[in-house]
Symmetry: C2
Subunit: 362 residues, 2 copies
């Protein structure tokens, strides 16, 4: 490992597996014998076909998806999905339910309303500053879908289990926890994730969509905003973000071949989160901000006794080689994002640092 | 130079300057002292701020843009612009003119019509298989804009000079010739370019928009489809495609500091094109497909006496280290794309190869 690399707890763009970065670096002037960089290879070449097809197959295998699901690579991040979802699926006479668990859910709701779509916010945790995931939700009759945010990066909450919607298909923004745990894809009509947390670099959004949802796409919307456009062309209606898709392929390869698959990844992620929450819960100094049953395995949010101590903590951490521990600018406090690529070693080192900081300042 | 690198004549994604690729490679594990890869750095960090701000300033300087213009980095390629332009600028009661010079113009026209916008195709070169750029166009009264495609990658044609629209602002798709030549930006309300030809890798689309056009953007369209969203947030309303923006920054630095600026780049591009068209015109074997006054300085399209010879030419070229010479799948024939990064040396080598192939097969 390069000695000058820091422990990276960024919320996204975030740490990537070192072996992935090294492979990109090593082959950057001559991609797989092409005599070109991956950034110079045509997306209509066999080299890129192999990349995108392998990425798709690995996602299907890792997430245990049957053939009803298609894996697409789009641009514009999750934010573009907020507008595309109602545009594609809430045609005349249809309505949908949304659950509001924080900033990103609220943005998804806003983009449906801007388009004049009929949606209902059936549950919200705004009453307690989005510190928990709502339970016992009364979903409305005959909704086209129920939209949830599976993990809330800013507030540090996560759906431990997805809700029982009584058969209505779920749509989920999984930007910050896709590939971190197993789940039953059967309940979903569509799920999506900006890559820049668990999957790769910024610049590509993975969308997984079921065939019955693809059939709902109307004809009269712009070509680049239709899921069916990308589904019909293996995500290559126009030039895809080739470099980002390539990096996603390598991250998936790492997940399967170095980590050993999704079950192992999930166990490791639980171990990492338990270590960190353990330090917080055992101390009278740090306090977690998310309700116990709603805690995120990916984003550990916590406070110190006062804001001056928080500033000093973040500063001292940085000096000791721990980056990205500042909470989101909208909420303050501290946050350690511990996505798939963050190694156990980094968590151990952070726990040691936190305990030492507490001894000195507690 | 790595010995195994080929001469890359790809139409896009295309060759990048070797020094740019080497700088990306060298700093890939530790970006400018951050202890992180550029793919791991937060877009809200000073590291990325420096990247995007420098890229914007360089574009403004190279293209000689005054302060009315804003430089934005969007996702979705030029294809997304085809839908965003009419959505943002053809509000109730407005209409626009389009010129059809080939595949990409036709797609722009299609996306305006899908949205039910009032547009008129005021000129087309379809009558001669898009082999020329129309002249003496009668533009309609009071149009909001006139849309043109400045260079036609597939057909190998290019506007030598932009048309006199009688004061109506131009909007241009400059995907395949931006930064290749000087032009007067004053005539433009907006111009845009997918990066993957002259500017960088696939995954980012540069949009340059004038302040009076930004003021025309309506409120009630999705946030991610409004130019004003990106203008208000320095292209960081949501996570931008950081790696692609970084590569664009380096390409601009190369253009200014290694090439010596846009005038020098333009002179070099003309020299390259003249060499290649010279070989074609002097031979009785190769024939250019674009009309003389409409020839592209970026994409040199040509045919051989028959399709078997073309196949053999492309194959032999590949064996000799010349990649990407096959014409677009929709038209056949041969095409050498000679964007900014293609060095004079590569053109010289290709000219020699073409003359040798003619001697053997002519």
């Amino acid at each position: 490992m390069a000695d000058n690399r820091i422990y990276n707890f960024n919320a996204g763009p975030a740490a990537l597996p070192l072996s992935v970065l090294e492979e990109i670096q090593d082959s950057f002037l001559d991609f797989r014998g092409s005599g070109m960089s991956i950034t110079e290879v045509s997306h209509r070449s066999k080299w890129f076909d192999d990349v995108i097809n392998d990425a798709v197959e690995r996602i299907k295998r890792v997430l245990n998806l049957d053939d009803r699901f298609q894996v697409l690579f789009l641009q514009g991040g999750a934010s573009m999905q907020f507008c595309m979802i109602p545009m594609n699926f809430l045609t005349e006479g249809k309505h949908a339910d949304y659950v509001n668990t924080g900033t990103w859910s609220a943005k998804a709701i806003k983009e449906a309303r801007i388009q004049g779509k009929t949606i209902q916010v059936v549950a919200s945790s705004e009453d307690k500053n989005f510190s928990y995931i709502p339970e016992n939700i009364a979903f409305s009759e005959g909704a086209a879908y129920v939209h949830v945010t599976s993990n809330n990066t800013i507030k540090g909450t996560q759906w431990a289990e997805f809700p029982d919607t009584g058969g209505v298909p779920l749509i989920a923004d999984m930007s910050s926890d896709i590939l971190s745990r197993t789940f039953d894809a059967d309940k979903f009509g569509l799920f999506y994730a900006g890559a820049q947390k668990n999957m790769g670099p910024a610049g590509v959004c993975t969308v997984i969509v079921r065939d019955d949802f693809l059939k709902m796409v109307p004809e009269n919307i712009p070509t680049m905003l239709k899921y069916s456009t990308f589904a019909a062309k293996n995500s290559m209606f126009n030039t895809p973000p080739c470099f980002a898709v390539y990096a996603v392929q390598l991250v998936l390869k790492w997940l399967e071949e170095s980590v050993g698959g999704l079950e192992k990844m999930e166990a490791l992620n639980r171990e990492k989160a338990e270590m960190l929450y353990g330090v917080i819960d055992e101390s009278g100094f740090y306090s977690g901000t998310a309700a116990q049953g709603s805690r995120s395995v990916m984003n550990v949010t916590f406070r110190l006794p006062d804001e001056d101590l928080e500033k000093s903590f973040i500063q001292k951490a940085l000096e000791n080689g721990f980056g990205g521990l500042k909470g989101h600018r909208s909420v303050g406090g501290c946050r350690a994002s511990i996505y798939n690529p963050t190694p156990l070693k980094a968590i151990g080192a952070l726990c040691d640092f936190m305990q030492a900081f507490e001894r000195k300042n507690g």
